[in-house]
Symmetry: C2
Subunit: 547 residues, 2 copies
């Protein structure tokens, strides 16, 4: 019998000491739990993804030293270790899986398929391995382990051998409903009679959430074991190497794994993203500008669950256009969440800006009525709020969380240096319609600290002029979001979207707004990817199109 330890852990980009210590502790714990083999995620020792650190010779050198320390400090353990790390040979760098036993490298496997699409740039850094140089197989106590790294199993298998167990180590970014895809891919990749271990990292790095959700497929390709979603976990499971079957599996099934509640997944993804952003930047406190609207409300909920209510401060910054309803709702929300809240009016500051600018504007040509002059004053309000939040941030050492949803960012319905101010944007990749559904999910699961109902039922408004609603400038959010998903995630053309039954003028207007808003997005805060295509590394467009 062989006992496997599946170490679904977080890694910390470029914090080599921390990753080393975490790995050693996990090995010791595994050995204490009588494990024979421990498996770590892809690039665990250097952290996924070090990006351009991989171009620095000194970083490569430090990684090699770190590996030697790891071997040295696990030398005394009767434990086989499969761990992801870079390897270097001459001037070539590989994304590798090391198999280490008592300080000796038994084999190194180099990732063959290097993803260079979506959020990935692996061909920027790595040479790909090939089957000739690769040691894809390793016998451990009479079972034949076959190695793969992440993207490898998303391509057709190009060779005819197989091991008893395929071990795929991963740093696989979350997007909605990806579990089923992963299970299908692994199932297609392994041979009949072969079982497979899919081990993923659990943690977040900037915009990427690694959701854990590791699993094992048995020799019948049934998913028999599932690890936690969005959480670190070390799972132990036994394998009968004579009968080639997995033992003690029943109790390992994670009841929540297949619950198919998208918004539960999203909510936990966002919490993990915020939590790790703060940990990995060494901050503890957040400040959020509440508007009385739905975006800032749900952002406050996420912040509370990620950082603790004692670490979240909210500021309401009313102007003359802010309704009493908004003030009341923001107040009630902060009361419900148990977080500190204060009010700073922007009216006096706005007046001072207007009077300071008046002599300058008087020299400019007059604008036609109801033209861009409105935009100037609307943006000023948003930017004064941004300044106040940033001043509070500077003075209190709290990071500003910004609250722009994907629908707004897509069409530029947001103010650069205004409501876009902030270090991190938890709902950056959520469409407005998803924000509402996330609130519904949140209120159902948190009846003791809800988002006030009126926030969810009022017509959304930026409250930057009298009686304004978002729908003055934009189509209804259901229509807008349908256009956005079709274009952004499904790469559809205007013609194809119009064929869905949406008005041609609206479609053309929205697609044009997406293009001309690129300058805002490129100066926007980072935020977690939860869709198949987020504004971030996933989305690479020029700013200067001649339209």
């Amino acid at each position: 019998m062989l006992r496997f330890a599946l170490a679904q852990l977080n890694s910390h980009t470029a914090n080599l000491d921390k990753n080393l210590n975490n790995a050693i502790h996990a090995c010791i714990e595994a050995k204490n739990n009588h494990a024979d083999i421990i498996i770590f995620p892809e690039l665990f020792l250097c952290g996924y993804m070090p990006q351009d650190l991989l171009l620095e010779p000194n970083f490569i050198h430090s990684c090699q030293q770190q590996l030697e320390k790891f071997k040295q400090q696990t030398k005394h353990l009767d434990l086989h270790i499969i761990i992801g790390h870079i390897s270097a040979k001459n001037n070539d760098i590989y994304n590798s899986a090391y198999v280490i036993y008592q300080g000796q490298e038994l084999t190194i496997y180099h990732k063959i398929q290097l993803p260079n699409h979506g959020v990935f740039d692996e061909k920027r850094y790595f040479e790909n391995g090939n089957l000739c140089q690769n040691s894809k197989f390793i016998d451990i106590k009479n079972i034949k382990i076959e190695l793969a790294i992440c993207e490898d199993i998303w391509h057709d298998k190009t060779y005819n051998q197989y091991g008893d167990i395929l071990v795929s180590i991963n740093a696989s970014p979350f997007h909605l409903n990806k579990y089923a895809e992963r299970i299908e891919k692994l199932s297609q990749y392994i041979d009949s009679k072969q079982s497979g271990i899919y081990l993923n990292m659990a943690g977040a790095q900037d915009e990427i959430v690694f959701d854990g959700s590791s699993f094992i497929l048995d020799q019948n390709h049934q998913c028999i074991t599932q690890l936690a979603k969005f959480k670190e976990q070390i799972l132990y499971i036994d394998y009968d190497s004579e009968k080639k079957i997995w033992l003690n599996q029943a109790q390992k099934i994670n009841q929540n794994f297949n619950n198919n509640n998208e918004f539960e997944d999203i909510y936990h993804a966002l919490i993990l993203a915020v939590k790790d952003y703060f940990i990995k930047t060494n901050f503890t406190k957040a400040v959020i500008g509440l508007s009385g609207g739905v975006d800032s409300a749900v952002t406050a909920c996420i912040a509370v669950d990620a950082l603790g209510k004692e670490n979240v401060h909210t500021i309401m910054m009313p102007s003359d256009y802010t309704s009493q309803i908004s003030l009341d709702d923001a107040q009630e929300l902060s009361h419900n969440l148990g977080i500190s809240h204060e009010i700073i009016s922007i009216s006096n500051i706005l007046n001072m800006f207007n009077s300071s600018l008046a002599p300058s504007f008087a020299k400019l040509p007059k604008l036609p009525k109801s033209s861009r002059n409105d935009v100037t004053e609307e943006n000023l309000q948003a930017r004064i709020r941004g300044n106040l939040l940033m001043a509070y941030s500077n003075r209190s050492n709290a990071l500003v969380l910004t609250t722009g949803n994907k629908s707004e960012l897509a069409v530029g319905y947001c103010t650069l240096y205004g409501d876009m101010c902030g270090a991190f944007n938890p709902i950056k990749d959520l469409l407005k319609t998803q924000v509402y559904k996330l609130c519904d999910y949140y209120n159902k699961t948190n009846p003791a600290r809800t988002i006030p109902a009126r926030i969810l039922t009022r017509a959304p408004s930026a409250e930057l002029r009298p009686n304004q609603t978002d729908q003055d400038s934009l189509p209804p959010y259901e229509i807008l979001d349908q256009i956005l998903v079709s274009y952004i995630e499904h790469y559809q053309s205007a013609e194809e979207i119009i064929k869905q039954g949406i008005d041609e003028q609206i479609v053309n207007k929205i697609l044009k707004l997406i293009k001309i808003s690129e300058y805002k997005r490129q100066q926007g805060a980072v935020g977690p990817k939860i869709s198949t295509r987020a504004f971030g590394k996933d989305w690479r467009y020029n700013i200067a199109y001649f339209l």
Copy 2:
């Protein structure tokens, strides 16, 4: 005798109609000038680089239609056309060179070496060609043309054939002193007795400047013809296809090509970058916040030369810490340049911010003396200025040019949403020491409209508190810039930089500042790359390091 037309032109990303028309007009002009062959740059018809538009099936389809129109509309011309464009086959996209004659494709060559380093992501989009499928050679009127695209010639030649003339079409980004590299690479790539045409695009797209500077190497590998730097040009040159020599070459030598004045090149690169950013975003006017310092001064000069003095407005926004010298120098600069200038004080607005924030700050724990409280007020001043500029921009339809140099951006000596506000940053990739040298160059070549001497001789200061100078927080710029070049461009470690004789504490402090300032840079404006490694597509780091 064969007459070549070298069409060193600008392309406009995704503006397919404009590129099509420009190409057709160039062909007609070439034919009127009795050319036999016209050569266009890499990806000329779709523009370099369309980025993720290449993932949209509709864009690919539009490109194919555009190509058909191009063939149709050049059908009547007795002219061989070599032009860069994408090609699509099944689901694969190639970066290709088409050879077209009278509406017929004589051959298509697919780029073999796809750059995926530096600013490039070509493996994200393209399949690479290979020698089997490639039609690398084409006979045109008894001369054998050999085709290559950009990166191809930067790698060793892997085949033994050669043509009479190698034609390499390029969209090659500028960086300092790249001409010599290109000549060397082409010279190494071509065979003895073979001559080579290096044709580059002239124009800018976002952060990338394509500097033109095309050239011809004759059969002795002598550079006999050089096209304009940083300017569009169609050059005609004759080739004796019997004797295999170039004719009428003497008059083609561009006197300025090898002048080795780095700052002349930089200045023209920046002008082109600004000019094309405005053209390609459809703006004409710029507004700049003048401080009385060197960065905003040289930015104003660049803007005047790129956009015309009638299109540049400057605003000085003094606080109580602003010296009379700064006010006078800014005034004198705008007078010298002949641009409009006005003064808007920030003192009243700052006071209003301070009094609005006072109740909130009073509730926070007291800070130790001379601590981050200063930073709060310093940042507020910068952010008020940012807001004023953006308000002016909204009201006047002028784009804000921001003025942060590379040294500041590297170490975070700048205020996010404050002095970092702006659409485009002309001096983003210039070290502070380079900014001074660029001013010297400018003053020497523009004696009638100089930057006032005192701006160049005063100790640099942000003037955000009394008697502040940059050197209160930073090492002397000569030292800082030496560290930055060593780390950013030469990938050196702290140890290696210390070995140059720089104090260990300073080196470690600066390298740490670079890492923890990444969040600012990722929200900063785009600006032209002039070094071998700029903050932009060239520089990919995570924000959240656990340091």
